[in-house]
Amino acid sequence: MASSSGMEEERDSMEDYEALISTTDVELLKRAWRNEKAAPEILRFEFQLVSRLREQIELMEDTIHDKSTSSTDPLFLSLFQMDFDRTLFLLRSYLRIRIQKIEKYMFHIRKTDELWNRLSKEEKEFTEVCIEDLKQHLEESVLSKLPATYQSILRQSVTSEKDDMVPEPELDTFVLCRSKEYLTGIQLEDGPVDDRSKLFEMEPGVLHFICYKSIKALVESGKIDLL
C-alpha cells in the first residue's frame, strides 16, 4: 500500500515537474517557433517572450564566461554550453523564419494592417527597406519599360479594381496540429459543400491534419499548437 502511494506521489510530482517545465520561457519559445514554422502566414511577434529570453541568454553567457575562468568541471561547462547553444538556436531560427516570411510576402504584409501590426519594430523597418529595394529593382528592370497605364507594381493595369499582383501566403494548405483543450464548433472550410455545415470537434492531445484556414483563429489565440 505504502509503495503504491509512493509511486503515485512520484507520478504527481513528475506531472508537476512537467507542467512547470512547459511554462519556462524556452519551452514557450519552442512552441512559438514551432507554430511560426508551420503556419503559412506570419504570426504575432512574441514581444515579451523574446525580450525576456534575450536577458536570459545574456545571463547564461555571463555565467558560462565566469565558470570557464574559474575551475569548474569541464563536463558541467559543456552541458551548460549545450543548453545555451540550443536556446540561442531557437531564438535565431525563430527570428530567421519570420524574416524569411517577410521577404516572401512583404507587399501583402505591408498593405494588410492585421499582419503589419504583428511585426516587431525591427521587422517593420526591414520590411520597408525591402519593399523599397524590390520596388526600385522591378521598376528599373520591368515597369519603367511598359506603357504608363501598366506601370503599377500592385496591379496589372489601371483597369484592375483591386491589387491583383501581390503574392499572398496560401492559407488553404494543410497543417498538423494538436489541441490543448477540448474544442468544439470548428467550421471546416474545405471539402464538399454539404460537409462544411458540420461542425468539427477536437479532443485534447489528438493529432489532426487540417486546413489551416479552419483553425487560423484558434492558432492565433493559442488554443491549438501547430507541429
Binding site: 549545450m82 523597418e125 493595369s157
Partner: protein, 199 residues
C-alpha cells in the same frame, strides 16, 4: 502568336534547377518588352478609331473593341510574365544571401543583370542592418546544434591568428584539422573554406 515569347521566358525560368540562377536572358526579355509597346500602340490606335467613330468605349461592342481587348489582355499577360520572371529571380537572391553571405561570387554575378546585382547588394545590406539592430547574427546556426563543438578540416588557407569567439586565436592552415565551436566554424563552412568531419 501573342504572348509566346513571354511564355518562353517564364518557361525558361521554371525549367531551371530550383534555387539556381540561369543567366539573365536580356535578349528575350527585351523582345517581350518591345512586344508590349507594340500592343500598346495598336491598343491606342483602336481606341482612337472607336472614338473617331463617335462610339463610347464603355458600351461599344464592335470588332475594334474586341481587338483592343485582345491587345490589352496580351499586354497584361506579358507584364505578368515579365514580372514573374524578374520576381522569381529576385526571390532567389535573399536565399543566396542566407546561404553564401554578403559577397556575391563572380560566377553568379555574371548571370545577373545590372539591376539585379544592385538589388542583391541592397538586400543583403538591409538584412545586415536588420540583424545588427536585432543584435543577433541570424546567418549562423542554420541547423539545430547537436554538439556545441565540431571537428573540421580546413580546405584552403584561411590565415593565421584568427580570433575565435572565446578569445583564442587559431591558425587555419590548409588541411589542418580543428575542434571548434560550431558557431565559429559555420561561416567558414558556408564559404566552402572548411568541411565538417562526421564520424
Amino acid at each position: 502568336m501573342y504572348g509566346r515569347k513571354a511564355y518562353q521566358l517564364v518557361k525558361e525560368f521554371a525549367s531551371g534547377e530550383k534555387g539556381q540562377l540561369a543567366p539573365f536572358n536580356s535578349d528575350l526579355f527585351e523582345q517581350v518588352v518591345a512586344e508590349c509597346s507594340q500592343h500598346h500602340k495598336e491598343l491606342q490606335s483602336l481606341i482612337r478609331k472607336i472614338e473617331e467613330e463617335g462610339l463610347d468605349i464603355q458600351t461599344a461592342r464592335n470588332a475594334d473593341y474586341y481587338g483592343a481587348l485582345i491587345h490589352h489582355l496580351a499586354l497584361v499577360r506579358n507584364k505578368r510574365c515579365l514580372m514573374a520572371y524578374m520576381y522569381n529571380r529576385a526571390e532567389i537572391m535573399p536565399s543566396l544571401s542566407w546561404k553564401i553571405g554578403h559577397v556575391l561570387p563572380k560566377e553568379i554575378e555574371e548571370k545577373l543583370s545590372h539591376s539585379e546585382v544592385e538589388y542583391f547588394k541592397k538586400h543583403s545590406a538591409a538584412l545586415k542592418s536588420c540583424m545588427s539592430k536585432l543584435m543577433v547574427d541570424l546567418t549562423v546556426d542554420m541547423v539545430p546544434p547537436k554538439d556545441p563543438y565540431i571537428q573540421v578540416r580546413v580546405l584552403d588557407d584561411i590565415g593565421e591568428g584568427i580570433v575565435l569567439s572565446d578569445d583564442r586565436t587559431a591558425n587555419f592552415v590548409r588541411h589542418s584539422m580543428h575542434f571548434l565551436k560550431r558557431t565559429d566554424a559555420e561561416p567558414f563552412i558556408s564559404q566552402g573554406l572548411m568541411e565538417e568531419l562526421t564520424s
